[in-house]
Amino acid sequence: MVENQRWLDYLAHAVLILGVAVVAFPVYVAVIASTHEPTAFTSGTIPLLPGDNTVETYTGVFAGGVASQMSVPIGVMLTNSMIMALAIAFGKIVISILSAFAIVYFRFPFRVLAFWMIFITLMLPVEVRIVPTFEVISNLNMLNSYTGLTVPLMASATATFLFRQVFLTMPDELMEAARIDGAGPMKFFRDILLPMSQTNIAALFVILFIYGWNQYLWPILVTTDDSYQTIVAGIKRMADVVDSEPLWNSIMSVTVLAMLPPVAVVIFMQRLFVKGLVDSEK
């Protein structure tokens, strides 16, 4: 702070409190809605104070079935989301760290070509090539499978660049020493590079877990079978009931459950999260 101006401090606090309130408001409304009975949403406005139906709503959602308008039990959706998020995060890290190792510590024909091939994936988000990608998945019989849900999302230019950057900043002497001591490339990778990139791996894992958990378009494309539905992709189908009023308390409780894991990760691993975010944008 440059000078002591009280009114500016008060203004800053006011702005921040207002900001926090605006940011938290939608989630507050969702949490409150999930504590009410379905009848609370038939007339008037959304309640803003907690109700007394919390236990019933959440047990109803977990039990599934017609009463909560859940065609897919939420346990199944949560499990699928967890599998998808963990597999994508783990797969991306393994694949990228190996590629970065190859690009930094070896010199071989087509190295620059390989680098550019990886770079190009940045320019081809799923959204711009939806139909042909769907055709590939369907020709490979990967629709409605965990392989189809996760493997195609595992290529990652950002993660590869991140590890390349990490490896480039590691002192050359490490590798020279390892070679003098007779370590082969894989031993060097396992015993020196991996332990030294631990924090970067953890930070990236946090970001990629959120990325995988929040996937929306991809699960919609690849899965038609209810048993592979993820929670983020499933909420919309719940809100889309045609012939009756949506059960807002159930929908909002599912929304809360869909937010909980990634938000918890951000709050409890804030340091790693911020590091991962900043690192992966360099």
Partner: protein
Amino acid sequence: MQTKRTIFGNKGLPYLLLAPQLIITGIFFLWPAAQAVRQSFLREDAFGLNFTFVGLRNYERLLDSPEYLNAIKVTVIFSISTVILALGVSLVLALAVDRMIRSGRAYTTLLVWPYAVAPAVAGILWWFIFNPTIGIMPYVLEHVFGYDWNHLLTPSDAMILVVVAAAWKQISYNFLFFVAGLQSIPTSLREAAAIDGAGPFKRFWTITLPLLSPTTFFLLVVNIVYTLFETFAVIDATTEGGPAQATNILVYKVFRDGFVGLNFGSSAAQSVILMGLVIVLTVIQFRFVERRVTY
């Protein structure tokens, strides 16, 4: 391209290490992209059996169709409004946190978590708050401003809804980068300006904002990419492009034309145009990142 001073001499190993990445890239990225380019020059008959080469006809028809021109217009409005809202709000919040000495961390924690909320979930949350019959916002708008909100019927209401939902989700990301940018501005500059008699607002315009411009520019590109592509889920979870195509942004139109309309030629041509757009944006982003390193 950089490598290490000494390297390993193995011949086959690097290819083996690169194989998983390159195989996935080839099958799921490059091949479909090539297919999109190929299909954009083809026309499928009504039964999906025969393809005829039609040259640039798909593109011509696209650029002649009022729906596509409308989608471009909608995308531009949506993109600009979301970017301005998301950057503006987060800059104000970042400036406020930058003044805090003790409470900065607490506020930061309270502001960053929406990053973890999926765009689709953000859409559903705001859809609920703005629900025309029971939502809290339409109630306030009607009783305070006498405005009858209905995003199911009024195009501008629907646009405001998706802009708010998309910007809300992006605030935390921009906020973190703005805070980092502000902290990297040397305090001595601001102190010198203060000694010379510049007040807080003058200091903001003449020192803070210019020195923050690399961060702002970086965030501008990232946010444009976000509004163009990642907001697909926001649209699909809320308005589905309606009412009357008022929120039918380009990525959403590719999806609808390809999967619902089954118009593959047109969808492929749209894909190719979007790819061009991403390539331009990526090049801008990377040129800039190079500059930022030496900055």
